[in-house]
């Protein structure tokens, strides 16, 4: 006999109830594990630590374009090492059920700036040499059974060509990636060909990519770039690639606020569920606690016992919930590139530990007060 046995006996006195509560808690902590890291991403926006690349976009709308000449100006900003650009190509591939991004990029600057894209030198050479060259990520190649040498036909929407026909490209390479941030479903087309052959908009690009000198301050450089184009016809907004992606997501609304509200509701619910279970258990066991007190258990001891039970209950739910969320996040990153960078790191774990403690303490608040006021004789008389 030891304290653990006593605690465990209280916890599993009603196995069905404990199991159901544990499942509720596991579901709640699964949500916490999935949503909290995303919330952190939004909360940490603007943090320029470790930023090596920036994206310059039109200030007012993502459907606007920037003049390619901006790249020359940006190249002159102190701290900028290299400049490239990318333009959303759009169009329809095959039967239109595809859902992958297609970008027109310059061969000479885009790929050197993105070394995490793994592409053979032969493919790189071919992309630079062949004006109709295209490369695709491994996932799209696998999905459509594409191989080097295939002809790719894309029916235009935004960008008709000068002959008002479908665009034809030749697949010269299939790229892989060294980290999860690369979208392995994307297709890249030769910008020189695209720019020359499009029916309108020559010299316009969607975004300008900026590579930074090591040690350069991403925040200062962003400010300088935007200041250079302030009050011009083509004002800019410069941000890190991560913040750019988050900004893209926030077109749906204030994602951070939405997640905060959901997490708040989850918290409130698990606190109520746990408090309800602990309170029910207590009500049934007041006489048992009176007997323990009669035997010589101090008030504080019984209160600690109930707190331990509540803590164990919350942990029983939290651990599997967080574990499953970690697995899901890991699996999700394999299939959803937008989840790249999200992980259950120390901040989420710390927050979860705090959450476990807060929920357990909230749950035992009322039972602990009842134990404090417990009158042994009155409780024993009820038996």
């Amino acid at each position: 006999m030891n304290w653990f046995v006593l605690l465990s006996a209280g916890l599993w006195r009603r196995p069905g109830r404990t199991l159901l509560t544990t499942l509720s808690l596991a579901s709640a902590f699964l949500l916490v594990g999935l949503l909290f890291p995303i919330l952190l991403l939004f909360e940490n926006r603007g943090d320029s630590t470790g930023i090596t690349r920036l994206i310059v976009q039109p200030r007012h709308s993502i459907t606007d374009f920037l003049p390619i000449n901006h790249a020359v100006t940006i190249q002159g900003v102190p701290g900028v090492r290299s400049v490239s650009h990318q333009t959303w190509f759009g169009g329809t591939f095959r039967d239109g059920t595809d859902s992958f991004a297609r970008w027109a990029v310059p061969a000479d600057s885009y790929f050197p700036m993105h070394p995490e894209m793994i592409l053979s030198s032969a493919a790189l050479d071919a992309f630079a040499r062949l004006r109709t060259a295209a490369i695709v990520g491994q996932k799209t190649a696998d999905r459509f059974g594409l191989k080097v040498g295939d002809r790719l036909t894309i029916v235009p929407d935004i960008w008709p060509n000068k002959e008002a026909t479908a665009w034809e490209f030749e697949l010269v390479g299939i790229f892989d990636a060294s980290d999860n941030n690369v979208d392995l479903t994307a297709m890249y087309l030769n910008h020189a060909y695209f720019d020359e052959y499009r029916a309108w908009g020559a010299g316009l690009v969607s975004y300008i990519n900026v590579g930074l000198e090591s040690g350069g301050s991403a925040g200062d450089i962003s400010t300088t770039i935007d200041a250079r184009f302030a009050n011009s016809a083509d004002e800019t907004t410069t941000s890190s690639e991560r913040d750019f992606a988050l900004g893209f997501a926030e077109q749906l609304g204030d994602i951070g606020l939405m997640i905060s509200v959901i997490l708040g509701a989850v918290l409130f619910t698990i606190a109520l569920v746990t408090a309800n279970t602990v309170a029910h258990g207590m009500r049934e066991r007041m006489a048992e606690f009176a007997v323990l007190r009669a035997m010589g258990f101090q008030k504080l001891t019984t209160q600690l016992l109930v707190t331990g039970e509540a803590l164990a209950l919350v942990l029983l739910g939290a651990l599997p919930g967080l574990l499953i969320s970690a697995v899901l996040v890991e699996l999700g990153q394999e299939y959803v590139p937008q989840l790249a960078g999200i992980d259950i790191g120390p901040q989420t774990l710390t927050a979860s530990v705090v959450l476990v403690l807060v929920v357990a303490l909230l749950a035992v608040l009322q039972p602990a007060l009842r134990l404090k006021r417990l009158h042994i004789v009155d409780e024993l008389r009820k038996l």
């Binding site: 006999m1 006593l6 035997m295 010589g296 004789v377 038996l383």
Partner: protein, 240 residues
């Protein structure tokens, strides 16, 4: 002359029921000797259970003192009184009050969690206590797997296990049939005679009281009379 273990001096206890104040004990004086086996009898509301709670340190008098082995326990803080109960008092209740989720042995071992004993020592002492009450082979059984008499034996083992001087028994045979009740009372008698435990018992049952060395009759918060059961009393199995 036997030494006084519990000395209840001029104790008054009142309860408030709404606007009414009920005097449960009125200037009561009782002495329980070391190794005594005392039974308190009386009608409902006579104050016997209240007296039992005061002697066991579960409640405090409004006036007067309860002195245990020369120490005035009425002056103890709640913490001191709780620690005192753990050391000196074992309780046996009418409804056994065993924890359903624990085995018989674990129930018996509960009071030992408050001692510095290690797990193996706790187990050993719990087994010894179960042996004393004749349930050595029932240690792994849950209360629901035991009969009423066996449950009460486990409760007695639990009261014994920390080797207290005083056993407080509140209607210990109230829910048992005659034969089982006699077994339990014989066990209490044995604990009193062989282990020297001082036993204070409350009962409605004259037959149960017959097992005690002294019977005290209470009514309206007062001690009416005190007597010793006669050897020729008709209670089968009663103390002789």
């Amino acid at each position: 002359m036997a030494e006084v273990l519990v000395d209840v001096q001029h104790v008054v206890k009142r309860y408030r029921r709404g606007p009414h104040v009920i005097n449960v004990l009125n200037e009561l004086n009782v002495q329980v000797l070391r190794q005594d086996f005392v039974a308190f009898m009386g009608p409902s509301g006579s104050g016997k259970s209240t007296l039992l709670n005061l002697i066991g340190g579960l409640d405090r008098p409004d006036q007067g003192r309860v002195v245990f082995d020369g120490k005035d326990i009425t002056g103890f803080t709640d913490r001191q009184l709780t620690a005192w109960r753990a050391e000196y008092v074992g309780f046996v209740f009418q409804s056994y009050n065993l924890m359903p989720a624990l085995s018989a042995e674990q129930n018996v071992a509960l009071p030992l969690l408050l001692t510095p004993l290690g797990s193996s020592q706790i187990r050993q002492r719990a087994q010894t206590a179960l042996e004393i009450v004749g349930l050595a082979d029932r240690g792994s059984h849950r209360p629901t797997e035991l009969s009423g008499g066996q449950e009460q034996r486990v409760a007695i083992a639990r009261a014994l296990v920390s080797d207290p001087q005083l056993l407080i028994c509140d209607e210990p045979t109230g829910g048992l049939d005659r034969s089982t009740a006699d077994d339990i009372l014989s066990l209490l008698d044995l604990l009193n005679r062989e282990l020297g435990k001082t036993i204070v018992m409350v009962t409605h049952d004259p037959r149960a009281a017959g097992f005690a060395g002294r019977i005290m009759h209470m009514d309206k918060g007062l001690l009416m009379e005190s007597d010793h059961p006669e050897p020729d009393q008709a209670y089968t199995g009663a103390r002789r």
